[in-house]
Structures are given as structure tokens and as C-alpha cells.
């Protein structure tokens, strides 16, 4: 994968944590053109895209635009262009689930999704889960309570996948959670705690 031609400006102190704290406000002020509401459809003029073009992505409720080639995946768009580094690149081949995000409410592997094909869709990443005051999503809180991680690298994907697992109605038992979460690998093997967290969050998600 080549370097992006127009990377998003990095925040001055380079701290991801600082950026994360500011992200809510920054996103609100994002310089976005009017969003193309015609679901998924590009304008007639841009039906064929070669080279760098403007790609508008609605991430966590806010439309932001990047200039990128068609080969840029949604995962790379999030991480390298929009500085939303919560979604992780593990295998980059759809085998590990670390890149899991929700697209129109469905969990997908963002590493096997093209950014150019994600326009007009609602994308939810780990950065979009907590409420504005900082109150965590029930799934995030349950992962903390049950220690559903060790190194933490797979955690954003686990949490997004866990939310979808509950919303799909596939969190009826420990066995069901294990089967329906099998697309998210945890090399630290925190599976018992991840399973417990999802089962608890299920009761708290409205």
C-alpha cells in the first residue's frame, strides 16, 4: 500500500490520547462538503474514479472528506487519513477482526472494504461509542469490568463486534457468543472475560 497522497494533518503534540479527547469537538467542526444523501450512489460525473478523488465518509455521525485513491481501504481511510486510530490493523486480510467497524449498523471487516464504496453509509468506530460527557457505552464498561482484554489490540474490534452480536440477537448463551464472535481473534486469549462482558452488556443495551 503506497503512502496516502494527502494525509490528514496530525495534531500538534502528536498524542493520540489528546487527540481522542478532543476528537468529539474536532469532528463537529470538520470541514465537510454537503453530504451526498442519495444512498450509496455517486454523482453521474464521478461514476468512474481513477487516481485521487474526494471521498466523503460519514463516521460517527459526522461527514468528513479525504482525497484518496480507490485502492484505499476503509480501515486505512480511518487510521491514516482521519486519524481515527482506534480501529486496528491486525492481519489486513479479514482473518482477525481487529478492524471491525459497523457500516449501516452491520459489523464488517474494514480492511476488506474500500473507502470509495463506503460513501453514503453510516460508519461507527470505537471512537463513536461513548456519550459526549464521556460516559462509556455499556459494552465498553462491561469490557473494563470483566477485564475483557490483556494487550488491548483486538479490543476495539471485539467491542464493535460484541455490540453487533447483541443487536443481532446472537448473545443468548456463552456458546452462542463464542460461535458468533469467532471472527474476532484475541492472541492474549481473554476469551472467557470477553464472553462474560458481552453477556453482561446484553442486559444493559436498550
Amino acid at each position: 500500500m503506497s503512502q496516502p497522497s494527502t494525509p490528514a494533518p496530525r495534531n500538534p503534540d502528536g498524542s493520540r490520547r489528546t487527540f481522542m479527547k478532543q476528537a468529539g469537538g474536532m469532528l463537529g467542526l470538520a470541514l465537510a462538503p454537503p453530504f451526498l444523501a442519495q444512498a450509496e450512489r455517486l454523482t453521474a460525473l464521478s461514476k468512474k474514479v481513477a487516481g485521487v478523488s474526494t471521498i466523503s465518509l460519514k463516521v460517527n455521525g459526522t461527514v468528513r472528506s479525504i482525497r484518496a485513491e480507490p485502492r484505499v481501504t476503509l480501515l486505512d481511510a480511518l487510521r491514516e487519513y482521519l486519524d481515527l486510530t482506534g480501529s486496528k490493523k491486525g492481519c489486513d486480510h479479514g482473518q482477525c477482526g481487529a478492524c471491525t467497524v459497523l457500516v449501516d449498523g452491520r459489523r464488517v471487516n474494514s480492511c476488506l472494504t474500500l473507502a470509495v464504496m463506503s460513501q453514503g453509509k453510516e460508519i461507527t468506530t470505537i471512537e463513536g461509542l461513548a456519550k459526549e460527557g464521556g460516559e462509556l457505552h455499556p459494552m465498553q464498561a462491561a469490557f473494563l469490568k470483566h477485564d475483557g482484554f490483556q494487550c488491548g489490540y483486538c479490543t476495539p474490534g471485539q467491542i464493535l463486534s460484541g455490540i453487533a452480536c447483541v443487536q443481532e440477537g446472537h448473545a443468548g448463551s456463552e456458546a452462542e457468543v463464542r460461535e458468533w464472535m469467532s471472527g474476532n481473534l484475541c492472541r492474549c486469549s481473554a476469551y472467557p472475560n470477553i464472553t462474560a462482558a458481552i453477556l453482561e452488556a446484553k442486559g444493559k443495551m436498550g
Partner: protein, 328 residues
């Protein structure tokens, strides 16, 4: 991943014409196989034609059977009440495949065009007759544990289709509807869709360059309803099949009236077992009958150094699947 241009087609004719006019182009729906292989440089395409806006959707019963639009996603089809109730093995084959994420992405049309997981095919450092015709096949004497034992050739022993759905579809006499750049449609049964490797393992299906899969139609039968997809793999979930069996039975008074049998994980292509089916019909639905049929199904198997276990495993998988369906 090498760069490509992206075209969003909103008419089938635009998509098929664009593909006809550009030999380097590929259709993209879910992209789960395509982008994986493009990142590995196993496939390179100058243009990707996005077919997701085309109207090839819907899951509905027709006079010919259940018609599923090629752009429907695995997760939606696998959970659809008609599929669950009337085509059990199809639902099971979908929901036992891949992961929840991939099933949300992958289309039915793309699924039947999955490509092999043979490690030599996926690694461009090695020769591979499927990837580079005439370059050789290191799998013959190499790591062939996951590869095929039926329908192979000296040029290729890959399980060309490594997935699950097409095994169920081929068992149930499903038919693909294809459409070309002239707007002309044709029907191709799954049993005639896949090509054995022979001396041309690079040719995997009868799909023409300008053809797009529009739909798959599955005849509604008692054998489709009373059916099972049994998958055996190295880990409990999220793995390709070592061996799988798609079986359907019609049993009356303890006697088999009709049978549908196919195997996955062992054939150079999804493997329909016509001889085993013939043998089952008219016989008592007992384990002895199923064992005899399983032996016939694996007759002619040519295992290699690391996959001799697949012969017995496939037989046992078939016997168990048939026994469970008969008992259900």
C-alpha cells in the same frame, strides 16, 4: 495493492460491457475474496466494477424453486425463514462459513466464485499452474494436507472452491442465472458450472468474461427440507472445511426414496456424489446402507502424502450426516 480505477455501475449492461471492454477488469460486490487476493498480488486488476447497485436482490419462492438474488449477502440468506425451513443445508452451509463480519459482506454470486486456499496459489513466491499456467505445482510433493483427493490432475490438486455454500447448492441441483454484455441470460446448473483442473487449472468455471451471476435458483424438494450440512474443521469455528457433507434424504417407511449427496473439502470442485445417491435409493435407511454409500462416494480417491486421512474422514462425515438426517 496495485492501483485500479473504480466504476460504479447502475445498469447490468454497463457493468458487463465495461468488463467485456477491459480484460483487466473485475466485478466487485462484497470484495472479501477479491481484495484479499489483490493485496497478495495473486490477482491484479486495472479496474474494479462495483455491481452493488444492480437490482439482483431478493429471496423468494418461484415456480422453479427458491430464487436468491446474486447480491444478497450470506448472513441475510442464511437467516432467511424460507431458507432455514425449506433448505436447511443451505442455511447451515452459510452460517457455518467464515465469520459474522465476512458473512455480512460477502455476496452469494461472489461466494460461488471463491478461489482456492492452497498455500502455493496464495504465495506468489511459488510456482502454481492455476496462477501461472505451466509454472508447475509444488503441492504435489509439498504441503497438501488441505488439498483435494477427488477430481485432481497432475497439474493441480487444489480444492478450487474451498467454501461451503456451493457444496449445498450442487447437492440440490441449483441453477445459476448468468447475464452477458448483450443482455442475454442463460441458465447453468451448478453441476455444469465448475470445471475440473485437467491440464487447464486456471479455468475454474464456464463463466464467460462478460458474464455476471444474476441469481441462483434452488428446486424445492423434500430432500432440500430434510437435509444437513455437516462441516469438519481444525477448530470449532471460523475455519475452512477439512471435509464437509451436504446431504438430503426422502425416507418413506424406513426406505430411502430419494437422496442428495455432495462433499466439500475433498474435491477439486464441489463434489456431487451421484453414484452414492443411486446406491441409497430403495435401500433401508440404516447405517449399513450409509456406510456402503460412503465407500462408493470415495471410490477413486487419490490422496497424497499429507491428506490420506481425508478418505476415512469423508466417509465418516457422510455416514454421520446421513444418519442424523434419517433420524431427524
Amino acid at each position: 495493492m496495485n492501483n485500479f480505477s473504480y466504476t460504479q455501475a447502475d445498469k447490468a449492461k454497463d457493468a458487463t460491457a465495461a468488463k467485456r471492454d477491459d480484460k483487466s477488469a473485475a466485478f466487485i460486490a462484497g470484495g472479501t475474496t477479491l481484495l484479499d487476493l489483490m493485496k497478495l498480488n495473486v490477482e491484479n486488476h486495472g479496474q474494479l466494477i462495483d455491481v452493488n447497485l444492480l437490482p439482483f436482490r431478493g429471496i423468494a419462492m418461484t415456480k422453479d424453486g427458491l430464487r436468491i438474488g446474486a447480491l444478497e449477502r450470506m448472513s441475510d440468506v442464511g437467516a432467511h425463514p424460507l431458507v432455514v425451513q425449506q433448505f436447511a443445508m443451505v442455511s447451515e452451509s452459510l452460517l457455518l462459513a467464515a465469520s459474522a463480519q465476512l458473512r455480512n459482506m460477502a455476496s452469494i454470486g461472489g461466494n460461488v466464485l471463491q478461489r482456492t486456499r492452497c498455500g502455493y496459489f496464495r504465495d506468489t513466491a511459488f510456482p502454481c499452474n492455476k496462477r501461472e499456467p505451466g509454472s508447475g505445482c509444488p503441492a504435489l510433493e509439498g504441503d497438501n494436507r488441505n488439498l483435494a483427493i477427488l477430481g485432481t490432475s497432475d497439474a493441480c490438486i487444489a480444492t478450487s472452491y474451498p467454501g461451503d455454500l456451493a457444496v449445498a447448492l450442487i447437492a440440490l441441483d441449483a441453477v445459476l442465472t448468468l447475464e452477458n454484455a448483450k443482455g442475454k441470460q442463460r441458465q447453468v446448473p451448478l453441476t455444469k458450472f465448475y470445471l475440473l483442473p485437467g491440464t487447464t487449472p486456471q479455468r475454474e468455471t464456464v463463466l464467460e468474461a462478460d458474464e455476471l451471476i444474476v441469481a441462483v435458483t434452488i428446486p424445492q424438494t423434500e430432500m432440500a427440507r430434510k437435509s444437513k450440512y455437516l462441516k469438519v474443521r481444525d477448530r470449532a469455528s471460523y475455519a475452512y472445511a477439512l471435509v464437509s457433507a451436504a446431504v438430503g434424504l426422502e425416507v418413506q417407511g424406513g426406505v430411502v426414496k430419494g437422496a442428495r449427496v455432495a462433499l466439500g473439502g475433498v474435491g477439486a470442485q464441489p463434489w456431487r456424489c451421484f453414484e452414492a445417491e443411486k446406491m441409497l435409493v430403495g435401500k433401508p435407511a440404516t447405517e449399513a446402507t450409509f456406510r456402503a454409500a460412503a465407500e462408493v462416494a470415495l471410490r477413486g480417491a487419490k490422496p497424497r502424502e499429507h491428506n490420506t486421512f481425508k478418505v476415512e474422514m469423508a466417509q465418516n462425515t457422510l455416514v454421520r450426516a446421513l444418519s442424523e438426517v434419517a433420524a431427524a
